[in-house]
Amino acid sequence: MRYAMAVDTRKCVGCSDCVVACQTENNVPIGYCRDWVVEVMDGTYPQLEIEIRSERCNHCENAPCVRCCPTGASHFAAGGIVLVKPVECIGCGACIASCPYDARYPHPKGYVDKCTFCFHRIKNGLKPACAAVCPTKCIYFGDLDDPNSEVSAVLKMRKSKTLIPEAGTMPQLYFLI
C-alpha cells in the first residue's frame, strides 16, 4: 500500500476551501495551517502563465523529518504516511528545519504538527477532508499500488510533477500539469 495525492493545477481555482476544511476537520489552532495554496505567476507580460497549487506535507518516501527525529516520534505509518506521535515528540524542531517544503509547524501545545492525509478518515474509507470538500474536485487521493484507484488512474492519464525531487525526498504529492 502506498498512499499518494495528486492535485490538478489546471482545475484548482485557489479558493482555499481545502485549507478551511483541514483546519476544521483537524482542529488546527487559529493562525496555523497544515495545507495552503500557492499561486505562481510566471513569464513576461503579456505571455503570463499562472499555476495554482494546493500544497501540504509530501509524505516523502525518503523523509528527512523521519530520519532526523531523535525520538522516533516522526514515523512512517501504514501506506507510507508520515505521522508524528505527540507523546514521543520533544518539540526540538529538528524535523521542521529538515523539511524542504516547510510543511511542519510547532503546535502551541508543544509538539510538532503537520498534514496526516487525514489518517483517521482514510482508515474508515473516507477521503481526506481537503479532497472531500474541493469544489472543483481537483484533489485525487488513493493507493498507488492499486492500479484502479483514482490517483493511479489520473497519474497514468495525465502529465505530472513533484516539488523539488532533486532534494532527494521522493515526494508523494503529485501535481498534474
Binding site: D42, P70, T71, D102
Partner: protein, 313 residues
C-alpha cells in the same frame, strides 16, 4: 526579462515567511558544547601523553569549567524544547540516523565523565579537600585506578561531541547552507581552538601558554582553510548552494561573518599569537577572548543564516 511572482497562503508563525525555529539556545549550546569538547580533548590528550605535570592548566584546571559549560549548554537545549515534559523520550530511543540522538547519548556519557574528572582533581583547586564519607573515598580510589581508561573515553567522546555539533546541522539537506560535510570538522576545529584559548587564559606557565598559542595558531590555519574550502564547494555546487554562499558573499550575513568571525575571531588572534611567539608581550587574555568571541559568533551566524537558506520551488 522573465518574471515570477509567488503568492503563498501559508502562514505558520516561526516557519513563514522564513524559518526561525531555532533561536539563541541552539548556537549557544553548540558553542558551549564545542568549548567543553575542546578543553576535555586537551586534558585527556596530555594526560595520556604523561604530561600531567607540565601542562597543569590543561589537564587539571581547565576541565573544572566543563561541567558548568555542559550543564549550561544542556539547560539551553532544554529551554529550546517546546514539549519539555517529554524530554526523556530522547533516552528511550536510539536513532542511528539522527545526529540529535547521537548527541543526546554522547552528552549522557561525557557530562558524568567531566564531573568525575573534576572530582579526581579536587585537591588541585582546594588543597585541603576531604571527601568526608568513606564511600566517596572508595569511589575516588576506584576512578583513580582506572584513570587511564577514563582519559581514553574522554578523548574519544570529546571528539564525537565536537564533530556532532557540526554534523547536527549538516544533516539537514533542506537548508543548503548547513548541508556540507565541512561543518563537522569546522565546528570541531573551532571548539578545539576555543578550548586552547581557555587554557591560555588559565595557565600560569609560560611554556604551557606558548604551546597552546602554537596549537591555536595551527587550528586557526585549519579553520581558515576549511572556510575557504566550504565556499569553494558551495560555489561549485547546485544553484541552492550558490545562493547559500551568497548570503556571505554580498548577502545579509557578509559583514557579520567576515568581520566578526574571520577577522576578529581568527585573523587578529592569529596575528597576536605570532607576535607573542616572536617574543613581543601580548596579554594571553586578549587573544583568547577574541578566539572565544569568534567561535561563538561562528555558531550564531551559521545557525541563523542556515535557517534563511532554502530550496526554491
Amino acid at each position: 526579462m522573465r518574471e515570477e511572482i509567488i503568492v503563498s497562503g501559508r502562514m505558520n508563525p516561526m516557519v513563514d515567511p522564513h524559518l526561525q525555529i531555532w533561536h539563541w539556545q541552539i548556537p549557544l549550546y553548540l558553542f558551549l558544547g564545542g568549548l567543553a569538547a575542546g578543553i576535555l580533548f586537551f586534558a585527556a590528550l596530555y594526560y595520556i601523553n604523561g604530561k600531567e605535570k607540565d601542562y597543569r592548566a590543561a589537564v587539571r584546571l581547565a576541565p573544572f569549567l566543563t561541567p558548568l559549560l555542559l550543564v549550561l549548554g544542556l539547560l539551553a537545549l532544554f529551554i529550546d524544547l517546546r514539549h519539555k515534559a517529554f524530554f526523556w523520550q530522547l533516552y528511550t530511543n536510539i536513532k542511528l540516523q539522527s545526529p540529535m540522538s547521537w548527541g543526546a547519548w554522547t552528552l549522557l556519557v561525557i557530562t558524568p565523565v567531566s564531573f568525575v574528572w573534576c572530582a579526581l582533581h579536587m585537591k588541585e583547586l582546594f588543597p585541603k579537600w576531604d571527601w568526608k564519607y568513606d564511600w566517596l573515598k572508595t569511589l575516588e580510589a576506584f576512578f583513580n585506578r582506572y584513570k587511564n581508561i577514563l582519559a581514553w573515553v574522554m578523548l574519544i567522546y570529546s571528539v564525537i561531541l565536537g564533530i556532532y555539533t557540526g554534523i547536527l546541522l549538516s544533516a539537514f539537506n533542506a537548508r543548503p547552507l548547513w548541508n556540507t560535510s565541512i561543518l563537522g570538522p569546522l565546528f570541531l576545529a573551532s571548539g578545539l581552538s576555543a578550548g586552547a584559548a581557555t587554557i591560555m587564559i588559565i595557565s600560569r606557565s609560560k611554556e604551557e601558554r606558548r604551546l597552546f598559542a602554537i596549537i591555536d595558531l595551527i587550528i586557526i590555519g585549519i579553520e581558515l582553510f576549511l572556510i575557504v574550502h566550504m565556499f569553494m564547494g558551495f560555489l561549485a555546487s547546485t544553484q541552492v548552494q550558490i545562493e547559500a554562499a551568497r548570503l556571505f558573499l554580498g548577502g545579509p550575513y557578509t559583514m557579520s561573518f567576515w568581520i566578526f568571525v574571520v577577522t576578529i575571531g581568527m585573523i587578529l588572534p592569529a596575528l597576536l599569537e605570532i607576535l607573542e611567539l616572536r617574543k613581543y608581550h601580548v596579554p594571553a587574555v586578549v587573544t583568547a577572548v577574541l578566539v572565544l568571541f569568534g567561535s561563538l559568533m561562528l555558531r550564531f551566524i551559521i545557525v541563523y543564516a542556515g535557517q534563511a537558506s532554502r530550496w526554491l520551488y
